[in-house]
């Protein structure tokens, strides 16, 4: 009993002296709780929506207004062609597009059936259901109102269709709403984050722990040579992992690669660089490999929960979305899903690339400021 208590007592002292472990003990439950309870929400609201109104009637504007009033749709712009809908969806400016056909208002006025179209980005299956359901019920409700009005006006039953406004949903990209199609490209990003951040974070801590870092510091090697030399092999590791996931994903899970593979490989370097920079940043903070590992794990949590990998980014409250914009994975998911699932072009992904490059640059500046070839 006494012996056991001695061990417990020593364990407590050690845990208390290790500030990082202590912080993680308290921090992880709190952050997990906040993330899961507050930020994670699969009920999507404020879905960015574009409107392709070929009618410009009172009725079409009214329908758009009613859509916005539900709180589920957030009209971010108007487009003039299906082509522009494609661009908006691929660059992720919008996830939903409402298409109003010509003479929509006139047809409804005349009591004839008219059809609206709702184009939904199927690359995130979780968004599709809530996006279409709400619009469908809006169309049904409006139809009833129109039918009742017409009845009252004419005072007698009419041979009008029961539903004046029909809404035809159209799912673009991943029309079968298969989860694997959504998850596999995202997994590339998650696995790269996990391995690259951890490898680089531990690589310098290992040298520090074994005393070889001091030997390197007394050598004429430059900080830049050391840093770049350290991360070069891991860039290759990153590409290898990415290739592996995409090949297995396409062979086993039948995930199509719609866009340009060379473009994907080219643009992935931005994300690999950002992840390695995060790892290097951790390595300047961590004194031991264990600390480096803890930090990497801690970093992984918000990446999985907030980046849009598992839960719809659109459903998160604003603070969670702000936080997620400083995670490289958030931007890379849009790049890789954009290319793999939607065939997005370089121009359509430019804003994500600017973010990734910016994050990398900031981290590299911080890292080189912290990593000096000096002791003490």
């Amino acid at each position: 009993m006494n012996r056991m208590l001695s061990i417990a007592w020593k364990e407590m002292i050690q845990a208390r002296r290790d500030r990082l472990t202590m912080g993680m003990m308290v921090g992880i439950p709190i952050i997990q709780l906040l993330l899961f309870g507050y930020a994670i929400n699969t009920d999507v609201r404020n879905i960015a929506t574009v409107v392709y109104d070929q009618d410009h009637s009172e009725e079409s504007r009214g329908f758009v207004r009613r859509m916005e009033a539900t709180g589920f749709y957030d009209v971010v712009g108007h487009v003039k062609s299906y082509e522009e809908i494609g661009i908006a969806l691929r660059s992720r400016d919008a996830m939903v597009a409402l298409v109003v056909p010509p003479r929509f208002g006139a047809e409804v006025e005349a009591g004839r059936a008219a059809q609206l179209q709702l184009v939904v980005d199927g690359s995130d299956p979780q968004v599709v259901a809530s996006a279409t359901d709400t619009a469908m019920s809006l169309a049904a409700a409006r139809s009833s109102v129109l039918t009742i009005e017409r009845l009252q006006r004419l005072g007698q039953p009419v041979s009008a269709p029961t539903q004046v406004i029909a809404l035809e949903p159209a799912t673009w990209y991943n029309p079968d709403l298969r989860t694997a199609v959504f998850i596999v490209p995202g997994l590339v990003g998650v696995i790269l984050t996990m391995t690259l951040v951890m490898f680089t974070a531990m690589a310098i801590a290992r040298e520090r722990e074994r005393g070889t870092l001091e030997q390197l510091i007394v050598s004429p090697i430059r900080s830049g040579e050391l840093t770049v030399g350290k991360i070069l092999p891991y860039i290759a590791v990153g590409y290898l992992q990415m290739t592996l996931i995409l090949v297995v994903g396409s062979l086993v899970f039948d995930v199509p690669i719609v866009g340009s593979i060379p473009l994907l490989y080219l643009l992935s370097v931005f994300f690999i660089a950002a992840s390695l920079a995060v790892g290097l940043f951790f390595s300047t903070l961590a004194k031991t490999q264990q600390q480096a590992m803890q930090m990497s794990f801690f970093f992984l949590l918000p990446n999985i929960l907030l980046s849009g990998f598992m839960f719809p980014w659109e459903a998160m409250p604003a603070p969670a979305r702000w936080l997620s914009t400083i995670l490289p994975l958030t931007h890379y998911l849009r790049v890789i899903r954009g290319i793999v699932l939607k065939g997005a072009s370089l121009a359509e992904l430019s804003s994500e690339l600017v973010w990734l490059a910016g994050l990398t640059l900031v981290l590299i500046i911080v890292v080189s400021m912290r990593f000096q070839k000096k002791l003490g």
Partner: protein, 312 residues
């Protein structure tokens, strides 16, 4: 050619702690220069400043003609550095370690191809070149670390407690090798708290609590302390220690088995003193005066500092 190491008023503090205070010395070419002192005295801090990896708080040091604070990278190109941790990559083989350090020091592929087999041969490591460094014994690790630290043939070699944790035979071989390197013209600066190693240096600097107490050849340093040492056999060692210790002219009484080692200050005759103090019982059964060594000088110096510290 001027001295490869010139240190003038070098100081370093960490916050309020003064690790090195106003240290000055010169090291001549081809000399084995020892920095001697107890743990935490400031030896390693001094060495790190000389290597250009720690900035001095005050004073200056020139190493192979370059100022350590202003041109640390030029210094680094011209020095070899080996610590007690040996800093080998334990998961690389002997040859891979050498290849790596040769590359870090900018040796070209052709130079490497010529030099590495020669160095392996010279260190007797040829048969072990494919062995994983982590599986080498302490002595072999030390040899490999020394080859790694000197692969770029630096004119100046720093050794920070190079023989900690190495068996006595390997230590002797190591020192023989260091002397060969020095006679070939390389200057060696070594920190140690092993007294037998200190005696193998050409010159010594005693560092205690960050200050330089004395500098000179081992013989000069011992002579300056003005101590005499005797080995005395007595019937009750414990009692004899208690009786002798309070005498102000006794610097130290140390039991060695059934004998005592008595060191006296100010050239007081230790045997006469022991006979007078120990009397009939426990008595002096046998006594023999011996030549003081560096350890005696070191202990005397530390004691005298402690007394000065207590008195002020």
């Amino acid at each position: 050619m001027s001295d490869p190491v010139v240190v003038e008023g070098l100081s370093r503090s960490f916050g309020t702690l003064v690790a090195v205070s106003d240290v000055s010395f010169r090291v001549h070419r081809g000399e084995i220069f020892g920095l001697l002192g107890p743990n935490g005295a400031g030896k390693s801090t001094t060495l790190r400043m000389l290597c250009g990896i720690l900035d001095p708080s005050a004073g200056r040091a020139t190493v192979v003609g370059f100022d350590v604070a202003k041109e640390p990278e030029r210094v680094k190109q011209n020095i070899g550095y080996m610590t007690q941790r040996f800093s080998l990559y334990e998961d690389l083989s002997v040859e891979e370690n050498l290849n790596f350090y040769a590359g870090v020091y900018g040796l070209r592929r052709r130079e490497r191809r010529a030099r590495i087999p020669a160095e392996l041969e010279r260190a007797g490591l040829t048969d072990r070149r494919d062995q994983i460094a982590g599986t080498l014994s302490g002595g072999w690790k030390q040899r490999l670390a020394l080859v790694c630290a000197t692969i770029h043939e630096p004119p100046l070699l720093f050794l920070d407690e190079p023989t900690a944790g190495v068996d006595p035979v390997s230590r002797r071989e190591f020192w023989a090798h260091i002397h060969r390197i020095a006679s070939a013209g390389t200057t060696v600066i070594v920190t140690t708290h092993y007294m037998d190693e200190a005696e193998r240096c050409h010159r010594l600097a005693f560092i205690f609590r960050g200050s330089l107490l004395d500098i000179g050849t081992p013989t000069e340093i011992i002579k300056r302390r003005n101590i005499r040492v005797a080995v005395i056999t007595t019937s009750n060692v414990g009692r004899a220690v208690d009786l002798l210790t309070p005498y102000p002219s006794v610097d130290e009484v140390a039991p060695f088995g059934d004998r005592l080692r008595v060191a006296t200050l100010d050239a007081v005759d230790p045997i006469a003193l022991a006979r007078e103090v120990l009397g009939q019982s426990p008595g002096v059964l046998d006594a023999r005066e011996i030549v003081p060594n560096v350890e005696d000088a070191f202990v005397a110096m530390v004691h005298s500092e402690a007394r000065a510290g207590a008195g002020s």
